[in-house]
Symmetry: C2
Subunit: 188 residues, 2 copies
DNA sequence: GTCTATACCTTGATAGAC
DNA sequence: GTCTATCAAGGTATAGAC
């Protein structure tokens, strides 16, 4: 069984993960995270020395989540085309959160990309996971330009996330995702 | 001729506009703006009472710029299809800035959308300008679903901006814009 | 491992002399 | 209109008792 320290660490990462998504990294303070995790501020530094360390742990956590999700899709779904549909279904299921807070991957990368290059490099790895997984599916479907198609789909999803957040509405998201599904069926 | 106060005000807005884009709104301090505008910190408050006031002025400034640009396109270009191509050309010409700082409209809306709803409402108006102008062009081309098409094009551009910033590369941007131009020629 | 207290800095913002 | 001095609040981070 995990020791108490490890449990506290996990609580902190989970709380930070949520806050960084909902408020943004720079808009979340140490105190916010400590309060949410119900860890006294002083004790906090036993687990993480700097705020950047917390972000690194949060990104690692997200990378683990994404990796596990993609592995599960691979295990559950044999057909690449259906796997791609699963990706689109995930975006659709995230509609409510997208409308409120945008894409967790996209918004973090945009925030860090402005003036925190070291942190951004780490955050970009989340994109790499999806890009490579999508490209693998397109390749299985016999597309030589698999990487371009992967970026196309990823870019479409990011654009939808932005519009959905800007207008705080999922209507456009759903019609566009319908079109993307039709495109997958017809042309891919 | 404008009085000195008005000139100072304009200098502040111009400096803030640049910094809010390059660093983000919340990551830009009063001091940053004052230094960039070369206005002593104390004197600063003669022109703007709060940071939100500066943002409001910056958004108004951007709205003026966008409005003027769209009006100029309308005046210079008669054919709606060519106007739409002009929009795509603008995105293409912004490649370098997109790679470094993302889309000025998109990144601001995403940042403010997280936890500053009042400020976000104002920032969204920039999107409205483009959406309505694009919709007008599609309508002139006889499309009953002009608003959907406008949001589609706007969303595509936003998605490209995100991918371009995440990977700090304009290669994908340009190939995708080529495809968008072909789509305009063929299907619109 | 846990927690209190606190140092030290930067922030947005004000007062008031000139 | 301009500028100095300063404030209170909130930020990250540390020292050290328990």
């Amino acid at each position: 069984m995990p020791d108490k320290g490890e449990l506290n660490r996990q609580r902190i990462v989970a709380a930070a993960n949520k806050l960084f998504y909902q408020r943004g990294y720079n808009q979340t303070s140490f105190t916010d995270v400590a309060d949410a995790a119900r860890i006294p501020r002083g004790n906090f530094y036993y687990y993480f020395k700097t705020k950047d360390d917390i972000l690194a742990a949060v990104v690692d956590y997200r990378i683990e989540m994404i990796t596990a999700m993609l592995a599960q899709w691979d295990a559950e779904i044999a057909a690449p085309r259906v796997r791609l549909q699963r990706f689109i279904a995930m975006v659709r299921n995230s509609g409510k959160e997208l409308a409120r807070f945008g894409c967790p991957m996209g918004s973090l990368n945009i925030e860090l990309g402005k003036a925190q290059p070291a942190l951004k490099a780490k955050a970009r790895k989340m994109f790499d996971l999806f890009r490579d997984w999508l490209a693998a599916q397109f390749k299985l479907l016999g597309h030589p330009d698999a990487k371009e198609l992967a970026l196309h789909l990823l870019g479409r999803a990011q654009g939808l996330a932005v519009i959905t957040q800007v207008y705080a509405d999922t209507g456009f998201l759903n019609t566009e995702l319908d079109q993307l599904e039709a495109w997958l069926d017809k042309y891919v």
